[in-house]
Symmetry: C2
Subunit: 161 residues, 2 copies
DNA sequence: CCTTGACCTAAAGCTAGGTTTAGAAATTAG
DNA sequence: CTAATTTCTAAACCTAGCTTTAGGTCAAGG
């Protein structure tokens, strides 16, 4: 069974093939490589060649994005895998716990916001610094700088007309 | 009680004063004006002057942003208020229901994702097209285009070494 | 009057996560 | 061999939601 392509230069997947297998755009894969989420070697002509395991690695990236992890966070998770291979079922269990935690936290934030809102419906607190929505519960995942505080209008409730 | 400032040219709030009362940056208020979330008249020197009701209007904007409404959506909500005044307690009750619905929906999406994840922990399904995370449950609020499908690797499970 | 400080506009810059474009080189199909 | 794909790089562009910068003007205090 020793065929002539058995030594030297493993074939690998071209970027287009990887794109087809994952459903990602070619440009996205190049971008992910630039961000250190996958790596590729180059063939004689300078074209990228990927390993088959990168299909799973990119699938992992796509799932992590469903959980709204940023590229930087995904890179961290992938770095927690020994020597850059795709996650095995055992790795997957471990990483899933992190997804779980992130997800639970985001759900908790939204539920708190919902409860605060429930407390506010009908209380007319739109003008109250003591409103439950005041100065707490940052945007779903504190991305961005965001405003600094809410509701400066402490008196003069009805001055709109 | 007829004082001399009683006719002509109501004073209004300068943009800096409004910024202080709301906690927003001056540049943010100008931006919101450009986006039609507030409006101002100009004094003799061409400077913006706002009504006191705009404090509450902007507070409303800030709360809506906590709920991850976009500028366009917030503009819609504000347009649903008669003649561009700040929301009254009655308006607030009505609009709160919309926040509620948006929030419930987002929580539901995350919970589905969490359930799918639970079903996946330990099942080694990272390579399975039949994985619960496959091809469903778009990112928390389907912003952005997003990838088209997941997990192209239907066979060759352990080819990473 | 003179000096701060607040304000003005327009345009450019920023983050995130990519996509699009342009022009050139490599690979594949016939 | 030739034509059609695919791939390459670098840089520009895109959305969202603002901020920063540059160069001036307005308003208020002493």
């Amino acid at each position: 069974m020793s065929e002539n392509r058995s030594l030297r230069q493993k074939p690998g997947l071209a970027i287009g093939a990887l794109a087809e297998r994952t459903g990602l755009a070619v440009s996205a894969i190049r971008y992910y490589e630039s961000q250190g989420l996958v790596s590729a070697w180059r063939n004689a002509g300078g074209q990228r060649r990927f390993e088959r395991a990168d299909i799973r690695r990119l699938s992992f990236v796509m799932i992590a994005q469903k959980f709204d992890f940023t590229i930087a966070e995904i890179r961290e998770l992938l770095n927690s895998l020994p020597d850059g291979r795709a996650p095995t079922p055992a790795d997957w269990r471990r990483i899933s716990e992190q997804f779980r935690a992130a997800l639970d936290q985001r759900i908790a934030v939204l539920e708190t916001l919902r409860d605060d809102l429930d407390g506010c419906i009908g209380c007319g607190c739109l003008s109250l610094p003591k409103c439950a929505l005041y100065n707490k519960g940052d945007r779903a995942a504190q991305k961005g700088t965001g405003p600094r505080y809410l509701m400066g209008d402490s008196s003069e409730i009805d001055d709109q007309g």
